[in-house]
Symmetry: C2
Amino acid sequence: MVRHKEVMKMRTYMIEKVVLVASIFSIVVDASRYIHRPDGAGPRLWSLPIQRSFVADDDSVIRLWPMPSQVTRGNSSISVSPNLGISLLVAGLRESQSSAIVVETFTRYKQIIFRHFESDPAKLNPIKVSVDSKQLYLDTIHVNITLDDDDLDFDTDEEYHLFIPSDLDTEQAYLQANTIYGAVRGLETFSQLCIFNFTSKETEIRSAPWDIVDSPRFKYRGLLLDTSRHYQPVEAIKQVLDSMAYAKLNVLHWHIVDEESFPLEIPSLPKLWNGAYSSSERYTTSDAREIVRYAKARGIKVMAEIDVPGHAESWGYGYSDLWPSSTCREPLDVSKNFTFEVINSILTDMREIFPFGLFHLGGDEVNTDCWSNTPEVKQWLDDNEMTAHDAYVYFVLRAQQLALSLGWQPVNWEETFNEFADMLDPRTIVHNWLGPGVAPKVVAKGFQCIVSNQDVWYLDHLNVKWKSFYTNEPLLGITNATEQQLVLGGEVCMWGETVDPSDLLQTIWPRAAAAAERLWSPLEYTSRLYDEVETRLEYFRCLLNQRNIAAAPVTNTFARSAPYGPGSCYVQ
Amino acid sequence: MVRHKEVMKMRTYMIEKVVLVASIFSIVVDASRYIHRPDGAGPRLWSLPIQRSFVADDDSVIRLWPMPSQVTRGNSSISVSPNLGISLLVAGLRESQSSAIVVETFTRYKQIIFRHFESDPAKLNPIKVSVDSKQLYLDTIHVNITLDDDDLDFDTDEEYHLFIPSDLDTEQAYLQANTIYGAVRGLETFSQLCIFNFTSKETEIRSAPWDIVDSPRFKYRGLLLDTSRHYQPVEAIKQVLDSMAYAKLNVLHWHIVDEESFPLEIPSLPKLWNGAYSSSERYTTSDAREIVRYAKARGIKVMAEIDVPGHAESWGYGYSDLWPSSTCREPLDVSKNFTFEVINSILTDMREIFPFGLFHLGGDEVNTDCWSNTPEVKQWLDDNEMTAHDAYVYFVLRAQQLALSLGWQPVNWEETFNEFADMLDPRTIVHNWLGPGVAPKVVAKGFQCIVSNQDVWYLDHLNVKWKSFYTNEPLLGITNATEQQLVLGGEVCMWGETVDPSDLLQTIWPRAAAAAERLWSPLEYTSRLYDEVETRLEYFRCLLNQRNIAAAPVTNTFARSAPYGPGSCYVQ
């Protein structure tokens, strides 16, 4: 354990130094941002010329993100009717219990696709315009879904088949999927194909016919959101969920609480959210359910976390017995049964909110000094003939059993595996973070694994560029097919120390999209760094901007920094 | 003219130096942002303690922004029914032509006020829950509007009177206004009074009864948005409009085109938007009308600008005859009648889109070297016995006449006043920007004036803090009451060189709010820098965050920079 911490500290130190030097350089380059607008006739105060772009018209590039598994296309253009409708069959039925999510998704995308048409806000469906009666328009998507089931869990199938014809006289558009969530993914792809033509004033699909057969490479494609270091309002989380759906990410790992604050209501222990930053930086259980509902409507699962015992100081603001002592507050007091009663109550209340089959129990960065140095706890260790490390193992395993008894498969950060793999419940999913090279060891021992190596998949590392996110291969060093199956996927992590609603989206995007494509698209595509990938990512970041997601410039020296001067979205 | 430019250049140079030094310092302080999440048990890598906040519970402070003209309040709390309704009378009628905007506004605020209640997205009105039948709730606002008229122009009255009772048994809530736009302002104030109580799970209004009589100090309270240096998608502009309404700003000064790009469609001259950055970084006339409609629904007027002749290089990408020559492209060619035909066509097409009575013709930063150095233009100057400066005057005045003939009152940047005040049409509104002290000279000559002195009201000056925005007094140095009336108000300017959709809102907010209060609230309030103002601004920035507006921390060293470490929204 010490070894890992030392490595991490050294790495952090080196990153800081590099960043510091690079930042000073960046400020010099970026001095233009502090000036007045340019003197109209004088020399420009930034050194690079104004950048225009023709990327938006380059049909040689497939402007879909992430790249589908199989694409064939032609060279015709068709027009899409602003009165576009959906013809939906679920399990062969026109009326079905699970169709609502598909209809809602279609309505949402319609508003995105036809945003250049004037709307009438008084109407529920704002877009209804007359079209040229002599021209043929794509006016219906036929959607056919096999299963009438809106359950969303770990194994939910996301495959879809999308066909867009080039000859509207004889053919129609089809979207086929096994589940409603496959259809949700297919509608996202459809929406990205629809491009508004500013000359004809019509929405068109170029390069038709399109025949797309698509499914994800990994079934777990996550984003961690930390709402403890800064509170993120429900509306901000919803925007993160919107943006995740655009990149086909499918798990929101909600790192709800940590040592800094405890924003979530736990009805059975109402004083826990005394640990919130303030009386309003809180989530009610209704808020949390609303987030789960909103995520589900986008095919996104919500994995909640309580990070025990090491990241839980804020719990004690409501129940100070959880602290070893008032001056030594972390990890949670292992010696009291009360501690595990609290964990059980939290998990029981959370089980009502979070239906997803995985639950994250943390377990990282546990410094046991407070246990060894607090007389009462030290006495308990001695009475039970435990070292502090034994107690750490005991704590993690006991928490796992509580989660398992509620029907959850536990996820733990990798320290638990690194330090006592052989004692972990075999159902444990090991969540890598310290660095690369962990997954091969995890799967060799038969555990499932989620990859989040911090060197390249931590979004709070502002000096890590999109290419490093993109080239991180979860199966690196794993050749055995059975072992490969144990890598469930990966997750980018948005730790919240310097992220509040003012900079959340631009810290996440566009870099999270690079990981999203790595996790969705075939290895044959993502393992060759085509020049076109950066062009496609520029295009996707502009698409996010058009959809009101504040994705930052792709090629900045540091994530979330401002564009350095005037220019087209497509080349910054 | 030269004098002003020299002063400006020197000022710019000094700002750059100061900013550079301060930035390096800031990076050192902010190194924490580049690290991994804190080691749970080790020392924190940021030096300040975690900040908790009790501002949210401090009822001694009036948590309204901007501060109303007259407020009295009590010390009771009432609960607001989530089924809150509106009882609307316009000119004494239940049904009226102009009521739609009030109903739409009410519906919008209801979604904001009750955001902690679970919603059913299938329903148009998502909030309908049962309430405790034994308790009294505020369930209706009686809104009474004098004029049945939805016209919105320069003189539109925004006064309102809002009464919230403390005894629901005998009294009801009333909102009285002369116009629907006064009611729109009053509903914003009402929405800010509604606070969700996380303990009772009810929305409540504390410190009732409230009796608020409110009207703005200045009738022009603007924000300039530059969509030429970076294209801002329609959705981004709509979010700016949302946020402006929250701060009761009422003019969007849309600096649509400039030398870098020409994004707007001009139907009569379809090649003009060849000057757009790309085929998709464009606004159709429908887009522009939609922006005007969306603004109007929030009581916001849209003042369009074409900045002639000095900021118009991009026009020539479609019509190169507008350039003096292909190598000397600015200002617009004064010698050709075609130039004025183009301006007239643009204005004629824009008149169909922008109903507001003011139109901005720019006129700043005109370097006439291209006129003197291009043989054909020089010949024309000689033939007409004009100096280059004479031609500048001629250009501005001729453009003014075109705007006037379309029924617009022209606005020009202050250089036109500084250099040839006596020749300007007396209806000219002079827009100050170069520095303080201009307004007294403008109004002494009998012109109307808009104040935007760049030293403190330019949002792209990232080193200017909220207090400098707040203390900028538009009437400074003007004691004569008649002259004071000529100061229409002021405007903060969001020039777009380093602002795209990824950093637009956090560069505007919260600093624009400081100017908004200066322009709305009584001088007696804003001229004394109460300690409470910063507390109120912290609160307002958190309110913006809760409403999905990415307002940056209030107390940062530089605008739009990240929070420096974990903590409550209310103290960062």
